[in-house]
Subunit: 396 residues, 2 copies
Amino acid sequence: MEINKNYLNLEASYLFSTIAKKVNEYSEKNPDKNIIRLGIGDVTLPLCGAVVDAMKTATEEMGVQETFRGYGPEQGYDFLKSAIKDYYKSHSVDLESDEIFISDGAKSDLGNILDILGTNNTVMVQNPVYPVYVDTNIMAGRKIVYSDCNEENGFLSMPSEDVKADIIYLCSPNNPTGAVYNREQLSEWVNYAIKNNALILFDAAYECFISDETLPRSIYEIEGAKKCAIEFCSLSKTAGFTGTRCGYTVVPDSLIYDGVSLNKLWLRRQTTKFNGVPYIVQKGAAAVFTPQGQKEIAENIGYYKENAKIIMKALDELGIWYTGGANSPYIWLKCPDNMKSWEFFDYLLNNMQIVGTPGVGFGTNGEGYFRLTSFGSREKTIEAMDRLLNYSLAVK
Amino acid sequence: MEINKNYLNLEASYLFSTIAKKVNEYSEKNPDKNIIRLGIGDVTLPLCGAVVDAMKTATEEMGVQETFRGYGPEQGYDFLKSAIKDYYKSHSVDLESDEIFISDGAKSDLGNILDILGTNNTVMVQNPVYPVYVDTNIMAGRKIVYSDCNEENGFLSMPSEDVKADIIYLCSPNNPTGAVYNREQLSEWVNYAIKNNALILFDAAYECFISDETLPRSIYEIEGAKKCAIEFCSLSKTAGFTGTRCGYTVVPDSLIYDGVSLNKLWLRRQTTKFNGVPYIVQKGAAAVFTPQGQKEIAENIGYYKENAKIIMKALDELGIWYTGGANSPYIWLKCPDNMKSWEFFDYLLNNMQIVGTPGVGFGTNGEGYFRLTSFGSREKTIEAMDRLLNYSLAVK
């Protein structure tokens, strides 16, 4: 029996384990210091009341003969697909129910979608990048090319004849940089994909953080996208579902490659290798899209967005360059005084007891940059920025 | 962009759609007839009280800041892995916590495990077979060979030098035949796998239906199995989790192929392409393994097993050959009077209004056989067997 030898080409990531090790060492040497973590990519506010109520009711239904549910449709219940369809309609995107697939999260489907795509395709990812895009393709042995994001292009790379690929990953609002494509930029990508018979895998996991109404929340707001793009979305950040696990993937009926419908291939993949998301969780997810649910999650998203503003204000005062924050939970800043990413990590930890994420951990173009997130508590975010301002002004 | 062309080699399965079509047609022509479905592979009893209570409590925790849980470990929470470890210990199998991976069901992991195995491996499945084993391997382009199960070997095929493979699927108690391997038979498979450097994928989804204490519930009860087998299990049939979604996969630390640990490869696959099972569901699953949970699920399993006995008694009275039933929710019978599978389907539907599953739908060796299940209600199971006995005796 042979293993899948492509796995031997994976590089171990030491990013988060190195961070943990450094923080632990500092903590042991300085037990009296109060460390504030702004590196966190996980939500911290609890599930909203509408979701909790819906899941409790669904749990009770499952305990009663008459309302018990066994196997559901692998692609999700109609009540949830219908709610998501209406949500898309609210930002002017018309979808058919059979184009929506309920998933246990964007990360699962971003990996699993590759099952239906040939291994000979060349894949384009941006640099810096969410590492899952890279690793899932190394596992399948695909060739990977990089599209450079940097300060010059605002960390939003554009199509180029020099970097050609069959499968193109875009994430907007971006993880890790928080940068968001506008309509014109996304149109360029869509046109480029159609011209080159390429497929865009569009990660919209952070769409709910977009406040600027001129920015697209879905790639399907762009003409032609239904002919060249699959969209992945999640309730993880939208509604605090990181531990509850529900997302959705949109595979338009009009996506045809090699004369074959990707929608039909994905349906076949899901009915063969997946058994659907728990009924209870789908009921909780549906509650997110009710008026009460939307009101409650808007409060939570607003809380994180206010944290982002507090971080942005401090960076503005210090004259530090950054992207993100305005329409994203992530703030991607340029390390001051030409510090390298890990140098700035140590500087923040040792002098201000603030923990963030070194940008170089997301790719070579992240060197010299640093990611802060708005998922902490209000109190700690304020305290961290006070420390940053006071220390920075003191040393100047 | 090229699709994965292996998908074009998949054959569409019309088994369950043809059954539905035939039943609908009959129903429309005979609106007054009361049809009893014994083809169902889904559970019908609701979740037990211990599970419902645990999930309600967990849902409440998720709504409160102090007890909210975000991302959990991809491989599952320790509280659940520890409960499963103890469960294995109760039938004399010692596992390490890191050998247990919590999944959203056996079907998902049976498909996803193939990610870590090379595509050049030859795969052995039995005939008849649960179709997922076949389709997931066609999707990856692996060569598939068949091991014949038939009345002569009690639908339990044994290793043969004529049918060699690198990956061997075994399902015991079997779906669809209900046949169960004994220790000596499983030992032969384990020895064969070790000798041939093969890997056994052991589907134990129906282990909880085993009453005969001499029969193994886990392949790890067999010496050497930790060196050649991955085991898949599920709470779907054990505790009615078909719509709640939780299972577990055991990948022993001592599984080494090409000098590489399969446990480490699977951990890498799961951390990259999966984000764990909902916290709420894991709490429900853990409740299954408490004394109260075990008592309650034993009652439900006992209910289904009593249904199986009622079916077996009727078949015995009619002198119809069958396997399964005693240690399985499935009864696999030989169609009387040399009827073919679909002929017997029509015969049962038209004369007795009973619906079952034609054996030929699971492979060529299923021709002339038929699957009944014990997942119906007591009342309907009794009524169906009364109809079968009365009609059969009347025509004789």
